[in-house]
């Protein structure tokens, strides 16, 4: 229904599993298994302390999720084309810092908060798009592989953040913090905005020609070119999209922290890539679902918060997270069509 190489079993997934065949396909459906894993984790952490499913804690987790998911969505597009974007975390940090300088000056001039945040968002988006373009230029014109090209921008953006700020956070915007914390029930408004962006990206990836081209390129770039797709232009736009979403993440960081902290994106590319991998998107490109990435990001968020709620010693946390990733990622092997394809 959507992409060139998408899973054949998917279109019927809305139907209730009735026949034994349906049941088996449900049990080997990775998305379903991820959902089971997520439910099991939630059940476990809730059993350790019921406060885990309180509306305040859910809001906290959605805030953490908002910091991760936009980068993970951009990474999903990039990985589906068969590439990788290591620069997303650094881009988020750098965009947040650049925007924070402008917002600090506007606030000092008593500009209204709405204007300040709008300007900040535009700057974050622009910086993200700029870095995405640099990535694309390094790949398409300097002929660097994605890993190297985005490693260069990762280093450059991280360094620039430090040069600009001297390592200290920029700004102290209490109004932004309060806006980021405002919520309906357990759902922060900021997370709602992020979820709308994610939904748009889902439609674009799975229901539009743009998405079909993305899958086609990752599946077989030569065939895609032969079929008339402008591969260079399309991959450029995918890296620009990834940069844009990473830049917007910088704004999410700013709002939650009330300042542009140069460290906020440090290492953030790893959980973003982990969410994509847990979600079952093939690192070889051409295959995957954005819903998988969303589930992957939810699992990472639940584990991160859950370990604190369950009061697990922080020295064990990293190991526990690694085990969760290993279990979730190995679920991929259970998928029969996956076995035959790889």
């Amino acid at each position: 229904m959507s992409s060139v190489t998408d899973k054949p079993a998917k279109p019927a997934s809305t139907a209730v599993a009735a026949s034994p065949g349906r049941l088996r396909s449900l049990l080997t459906n990775q998305q379903f298994l991820l959902l089971v894993a997520l439910a099991a984790l939630v059940a476990y952490f809730t059993s350790r302390d019921s406060v885990f499913i309180s509306s305040g804690e859910v809001a906290t987790m959605l805030a953490t999720f908002s910091e991760l998911i936009l980068m993970a969505v951009g990474e999903t597009y990039v990985i589906i084309t068969g590439g990788i974007d290591l620069s997303v975390g650094a881009t988020a940090g750098f965009a947040g810092v650049v925007a924070a300088f402008a917002m600090r000056d506007l606030l000092a001039g008593h500009s209204p908060e709405a204007l300040v945040l709008t300007v900040g968002t535009v700057i974050c988006a622009a910086v993200g798009v700029g870095i995405g373009l640099v990535n694309a230029i390094l790949m398409n014109w300097a002929r660097l592989v994605p890993f190297v090209a985005t490693l260069i921008t990762l280093g450059a953006a991280t360094g620039m953040s430090l040069v600009l700020t001297g390592g200290a956070p920029i700004g102290a915007d209490a109004a932004a913090i309060n806006l980021a914390a405002a919520r309906i029930g357990p759902l922060p408004y900021l997370a709602l905005i992020v979820l709308v962006i994610v939904a748009v990206c889902w439609v674009y990836l799975h229901l539009s020609r743009y998405g079909r081209y993305t899958f086609a390129i990752g599946s077989n770039a030569f065939a895609a070119r032969a079929a008339g797709i402008n591969v260079r232009r399309h991959t450029t736009s995918v890296y620009v999209l990834s940069g844009l979403l990473a830049g917007l993440t910088g704004m999410v960081f700013y709002m939650q922290l009330g300042s542009g902290a140069p460290s906020s994106g440090n290492g953030a590319e790893l959980p973003a890539i982990a969410a994509v991998v847990i979600g079952g998107v093939s690192l070889f490109g051409g295959m995957g679902r954005l819903t998988g990435t969303i589930l992957g990001a939810l699992i990472l968020t639940v584990v991160q918060s859950g370990l604190i709620i369950a009061n697990v010693s922080p020295n064990y946390s990293q190991v526990a997270i690694a085990i969760c990733i290993a279990i979730a990622a190995s679920l991929q092997a259970l998928r029969p069509q996956n076995r035959s394809q790889t």
Binding site: V51, I123, L164, G167, L257, I309, N311
Partner: protein, 350 residues
């Protein structure tokens, strides 16, 4: 199948507009940054000038606010005494792997003296030994190599004492009374950051000694990421509804914890004691978001290191009047600290 989103052309145009805007932003940033970096460091080419003392100063992460503040103190003292200062370290990585090649390079330029803040006590020992063998006197600042017997002086902040005064400040802010119990948590960067470890040890020792009612419920790591520190505190606030105090053990944790208290409307209700007097943190202290801030004295450390070296070199290499080990206390700043004192301890930016 039938879906056809015809927004691609519009999308392309808006992407182009944003791209142009971002190039402008990037250009603006790069020009402003080059301006600031040239003003912060003294030209390395100055070493050759006849007979003038040239001091090489080498540290882990040059862009750390702590070292930027140290640079300000060192540069001012060097200017006052009329000596050259070469200030060089890796821009952002605090690691012996990046520090050693830079230190070797500095020694190859035959400076009159070397001031070094080693990132690892064992790994940087050979660099110090080589300098001494070349007849170049060495001062250690902030951190030290294993064998400091031949090092002219070692000037450092007292992190253990800093942790202890943090406990005192927290107890005072939550009006500690014996017989009551108080839940507190500690946010640190990682279990291997030596300054963090020393501060936590001092904090725990002081609690054991004076405040038996204070109970450390949990410790979590931020991996030096403010957003992670923020998430940790948000989680603690749900987990421990009766939380009375937070010790944010370094600048990153302070940023994350301050934002979490503001987001939950708990400013003034939970005693937040943070570390490092960044300008933003001092502003938050004045708004009572922090009950106290513990400040180190990097500017003074840098100044004293230069003063020691110059005194030694100008007195015909006599160690008279130079203290071998100088431990500068960490300073407690509170909302009631006079503004002039706050200004004195706020880390200057280059």
């Amino acid at each position: 199948m039938g879906h056809r989103l015809t927004t691609s052309r519009l999308g392309r145009r808006s992407v182009a507009v944003l791209a142009v805007a971002s190039v402008g932003v990037l250009a603006a940033c790069s020009s402003s940054s080059s301006g600031s970096s040239t003003s912060s460091s003294t030209s390395p080419s100055a070493k050759g000038s006849s007979g003038k003392i040239t001091i090489a100063f080498n540290m882990g992460a040059e862009a750390d606010p702590f070292f930027i503040a140290m640079n300000v103190g060192a540069a001012a003292e060097a200017k006052k005494l009329g000596v050259n200062l070469i200030w060089q370290g890796d821009p952002s990585v605090y690691s012996p792997a990046t520090q050693i090649p830079i230190a070797d390079q500095l020694l190859a330029e035959h400076p009159s003296a070397l001031v070094i803040a080693p990132t690892d006590p064992a790994a940087l020992q050979p660099v110090v030994n080589q300098a001494l063998a070349q007849g170049i006197p060495v001062v250690n600042v902030d951190t030290h190599v294993n064998d400091i017997s031949k090092v002219l002086s070692f000037i450092t902040g007292n992190n253990q004492q800093g942790g202890a005064v943090a406990a005192d400040a927290m107890a005072k802010a939550m009006h500690y009374q014996s017989g009551h119990s108080y839940q507190v948590v500690v946010g640190m960067s990682s279990p291997t950051t030596t300054t963090n470890v020393a501060r936590l040890a001092g904090f725990k020792a002081e609690i054991a000694k004076k405040y038996p009612g204070i109970k450390i419920m949990s410790v979590a790591y931020s991996e030096s990421v403010a957003a992670t520190a923020n998430a940790n505190v948000n989680n603690w606030l749900t987990k421990y509804p009766n939380l009375k105090g937070i010790f944010a053990i370094d600048g990153t944790n302070a940023t994350g914890a301050a934002a979490a208290l503001q987001a939950h409307g708990l400013v003034g209700k939970i005693a937040l004691v943070g570390y490092d007097a960044y300008a933003t943190n001092v502003a938050l202290l004045q708004q009572h978001v922090f009950a106290a801030l513990i400040a180190q004295q990097p500017t003074l450390e840098g100044q004293m290191a230069i003063a020691d070296i110059v005194k030694y070199l100008r007195s015909g290499k006599s160690k008279a009047g130079i203290q071998h080990l100088v431990t500068l206390p960490n300073i407690v700043l509170t909302p009631s600290t006079p503004a002039s004192v706050l200004a004195k301890y706020t880390y200057p930016t280059a």
